[in-house]
C-alpha cells in the first residue's frame, strides 16, 4: 500500500465519522458508559487489593522468650527461627522496647503504664514476618514448638478472619471487573456492528468497483479504533478528577489511620492507558468482525 492510500484511508475514516454523526455518537457513548464503569470498578478493585495488602503486611508473629533463657543465646535462637521455611525476617525486641511500643500505641492512656517501667511484666520477644501473610498461622505453629519460646501471639482467630475478608473482597472485585469488561465488549461491538450493517450495500458496491478487501477494511479499522479511543476520553477525565478528589479527602481525614489509598501516579496514568487500549481494541475488533461478514461477495 502506498503512503497516499493510507492517507486516503484516514481521511475517508474521519469523513465517514462526520457524515454518520449520530451513529458515531451512539458508538462513542456506548464505549464511554462502559469504560466509565470499568475504570471506576478497576480503581476500587486495585485499592481494595492495596489496602488488603497493607493490612496483611501488618500481621506479625510475636514469639515470647522464656524468662529462664540467657540473652547470650538469643542470637543462636534467632538463627534457628530464620532457618524455618516461609519466614521472611526475624527481629529481636527486648521487653523494654516492647513496653515503649505498647505505651506509644495506646496514646494518652499509655501514660498509666509508664510506672511499669521499673517492674516490666513483658518478656523479650522475636517478631517474625512471614514471606506470605497467609502462612502466618502455619509458621506460628512451628515457632511454638521451640523450647525457648514461652508463648506465640499472632492475633489468633482474627488473622484467619481478616484473610477470609480480604480474599472475598478481591474475588468479588475481579469477578465484577471481568463481568463488566465482557458486557462492555458485547455492547460496544453490537453498536459498531449496527453502524456497519447499514453499510452492507456500500461494501458490495466497493467490491464491484474493484476494491480489494484490505482497501475496504482499512477505513473501517481506523474508524473503529478512533471511535473506541474517543469513547475513552470522558472516562479518563472523570477518573482523573474524581480520583484526585477522593484521594485528597481520604488522606486528609483518614491519613492518620493506617489506611492509605494508591497514589494518583502511577495509578491514573496506567488506568488511562488501559482505557485507551481497551477502547481501541474493542472498537477495532467490533468493526472488523462485522466487516468480515460482508466481504465475501
Amino acid at each position: 500500500m502506498k503512503i497516499r492510500t493510507l492517507k486516503r484511508h484516514f481521511v475517508e475514516a474521519f469523513k465517514s465519522m462526520g457524515r454518520n454523526g449520530w451513529m458515531s455518537f451512539a458508538s462513542i457513548s456506548a464505549v464511554t458508559v462502559t469504560l466509565l464503569l470499568v475504570s471506576v470498578f478497576l480503581a476500587i478493585l486495585l485499592n481494595i487489593n492495596y489496602i488488603a495488602s497493607q493490612i496483611e503486611d501488618d500481621v506479625q508473629i510475636r514469639a515470647y522468650i522464656e524468662r529462664t533463657e540467657k540473652p547470650e543465646r538469643y542470637d543462636a535462637y534467632k538463627q534457628e527461627l530464620e532457618k524455618l521455611g516461609k519466614v521472611k525476617t526475624v527481629e529481636y525486641q527486648s521487653k523494654e522496647e516492647g513496653l515503649d511500643e505498647l505505651i506509644e500505641s495506646l496514646g494518652d492512656e499509655g501514660e498509666a503504664f509508664s510506672s511499669l517501667k521499673n517492674e516490666n511484666p513483658l518478656r523479650d520477644a522475636f517478631i517474625i514476618y512471614t514471606e506470605k501473610p497467609q502462612d502466618t498461622a502455619a509458621v506460628a505453629k512451628e515457632v511454638e514448638k521451640f523450647k525457648f519460646v514461652n508463648k506465640v501471639e499472632y492475633g489468633q482467630g482474627t488473622v484467619e478472619k481478616l484473610f477470609k475478608v480480604t480474599d472475598v473482597a478481591r474475588n468479588v472485585g475481579i469477578v465484577l471487573v471481568l463481568g463488566l469488561v465482557f458486557t462492555a465488549m458485547f455492547l460496544i461491538s453490537n453498536t459498531i456492528k449496527l453502524t456497519i450493517v447499514t453499510r452492507r450495500r456500500e461494501i458490495e458496491i466497493m467490491k464491484l468497483v474493484g476494491a480489494t478487501n484490505g482497501f475496504i477494511r482499512w477505513p473501517f479499522f481506523i474508524e473503529g479504533f478512533a471511535l473506541g479511543v474517543a469513547g475513552a476520553i470522558l472516562p479518563i477525565v472523570v477518573i482523573t478528577v474524581g480520583y484526585q478528589a477522593i484521594f485528597d479527602i481520604v488522606n486528609q481525614k483518614l491519613g492518620t489511620v493506617f489506611i492509605e489509598l494508591l497514589p494518583v501516579t502511577p495509578l491514573i496514568p496506567q488506568l488511562a492507558l488501559l482505557m485507551i487500549l481497551i477502547g481501541g481494541v474493542i472498537g477495532v475488533w467490533g468493526s472488523l468482525t462485522s466487516v468480515r461478514k460482508f466481504l465475501k461477495i
Binding site: 500500500m1 502506498k2 497516499r4 492510500t5 486516503r8 465517514s16 457524515r19 454518520n20 450495500r201 456500500e202 458490495e204 458496491i205 466497493m206 467490491k207 464491484l208 468497483v209 474493484g210 476494491a211 480489494t212 482497501f215
Partner: protein, 228 residues
C-alpha cells in the same frame, strides 16, 4: 477481446441459467444482449464481470480466464471492466466526485491524476457542476451518468451494462445512450443487456438474443425481435 467457450452455469438450487454459450466479441464492438426475463441474460452479464463463476467453460476477457481466476485476483479483473447497473449502485454517503474518484483510489492513482481524470469524465457526462452533490440529490438519469463516469474513469477496455436504462424515462434513456455511443466511439467495447426495444431498433448494432440459456440469434445489424 471477449471470448466465451462452452459456458455452462447451474445455480446451487438447480436452475440451469446458461447451457453452452459460445460467443466472440471483437475489440471496439457494441453488442446488445436481449431476451425474455429469466432467459439467462443477467447470468450471462454477471459472468462477464465475475460476479458469478461459470460451472463449466472458459470466459476470456482482456486475456484473463475469468473461470479460473482466483478469489484474490477478482478485484484486479474488475478494474479492467467498467460495470453499469440498472439501480446505479452509487455509494450513498459519497459525493458525485468521490464516487467517481473511488474507482481510481482503489488502483492507488495519485491525487493529481485523480482530480484531472474525474473532472474529465464528469465533463463528458455533463455533471461537472454537480460534483459536490450526493446521489440522493440527483435525478435517476443524473445518477446513471455518475455511474457511467465511474465505470469509464480508469479507461477500461470493456464496459458492461445491465439494463442501464431500465429505471429511466424514455427521454433520459436516449441521453444515456448518447453517452454509450460516445464511449464506444472512443474505442471501448460495450456489452449491454436491455429490454428497450426502441433503442435496439433505432441505434442498430450487433444483437445477441438469449433464450433458455442458449444464444438463439446473433446478428451484426440486428433488431430487438420481441413484442414487448
Amino acid at each position: 477481446m471477449i471470448e466465451m467457450v462452452d459456458v455452462w452455469k447451474t445455480y446451487p438450487n438447480g436452475v440451469m441459467a446458461l447451457n453452452g454459450i459460445d460467443v466472440y466479441i471483437e475489440k471496439g464492438e457494441f453488442v446488445y444482449v436481449v431476451g425474455p426475463s429469466g432467459a439467462g441474460k443477467s447470468t450471462f452479464i454477471k459472468c462477464m464481470y465475475r460476479e458469478e463463476k461459470p460451472t463449466q467453460g472458459s470466459i476470456i476477457i482482456n486475456g484473463t480466464n475469468l473461470a479460473k481466476v482466483k478469489e484474490r485476483q477478482i478485484p484486479k479483473v474488475r478494474r479492467k471492466i467498467g460495470v453499469i447497473f440498472q439501480d446505479f449502485k452509487l455509494l450513498p454517503r459519497l459525493t458525485v466526485y468521490e464516487n467517481v474518484a473511488f474507482a481510481l483510489e482503489v488502483i492507488e492513482e495519485s491525487p493529481k491524476v485523480i482530480r484531472e481524470r474525474v473532472m474529465e469524465v464528469l465533463d463528458l457526462v455533463k455533471l461537472k457542476n454537480k460534483a459536490r452533490m450526493f446521489p440522493d440529490e440527483l435525478s435517476g438519469g443524473e445518477q446513471q451518468r455518475v455511474s457511467i463516469a465511474r465505470s469509464i474513469v480508469n479507461h477500461p477496455p470493456v464496459v458492461i451494462a445491465d439494463e442501464p436504462t431500465g429505471n429511466l424515462d424514455p427521454e433520459t434513456a436516449w441521453e444515456i445512450m448518447d453517452i454509450f455511443k460516445e464511449i464506444n466511439a472512443r474505442g471501448t467495447t460495450v456489452v449491454m443487456a436491455t429490454h428497450n426495444k426502441e433503442i435496439v431498433n433505432t441505434i442498430t448494432k450487433r444483437v445477441i438474443a438469449i433464450e433458455g440459456g442458449r444464444i438463439v440469434r446473433d446478428e451484426a445489424k440486428g433488431d430487438y425481435g420481441y413484442e414487448d
